[in-house]
Amino acid sequence: MSITADHLCEILGKYAASQGNQLNSDREFVLDVIAGLLKNEERYGYRSCPCRLATGVKERDEDIMCPCRYKDADIKDFGSCYCALYVSREWNAGTIPRMPVPERRPPKK
């Protein structure tokens, strides 16, 4: 049986807390990201970032499997990951500016 979006949301929330981060406080947005993750899991067999184009070849997409390799650096520099799923406490509180996170992944990847 596949995992439900709500259950995955709960797990990701615990993971975020364990890393000193939070999930985006916009639950509708979070569930939309999770729907994308689950769609990618169905398509490719793994939960690649829904905000990036995956190749479908696991070895080539390892860096963008959620949580992606760039998450920590993006949260440190911008308060949120590229997809705005994982965010800092300050980002959620609105005490730091919110901006689109520039793509950190090398373009030819």
Binding site: F29, D32, V33, A35, G36, L37, K39, N40, P50, C51, R52, L53, A54, C83, A84, P100, P102, E103, P107
Partner: protein, 86 residues
């Protein structure tokens, strides 16, 4: 009858799974802005390659969503050409 001699061509490069893409799409829809949607992850292999190559002309990072807004000038319209080229 007034015939517009300039218009803007709007293209949205998006992924079907991307929440930010959906929000941009909603903005364009809500504001009744005509646009061409290129949902790259929904294309087949060769179409996806071509769309990605096209997107990279505008955005070398090939990130989503990308909105390309191009001015189009129709006919011999020096005023419009000068305005757009300034």
């Amino acid at each position: 009858m007034d015939v517009p001699t300039t218009m803007k061509k709007v293209t949205l490069f998006a992924l079907s799974t991307c929440p930010a893409c959906k929000r941009v799409k909603k903005f364009l829809d809500d504001n009744r802005i005509p646009y061409t949607l290129v949902e790259v992850d929904s294309l087949d292999g060769s179409e996806q390659w071509a769309a990605t190559k096209e997107l990279s002309r505008y955005n070398p990072q090939v990130s989503y969503p990308t909105v390309v807004i191009e001015d189009v000038v129709l006919g011999y319209d020096i005023d419009s050409l000068q305005a757009k080229l300034q």
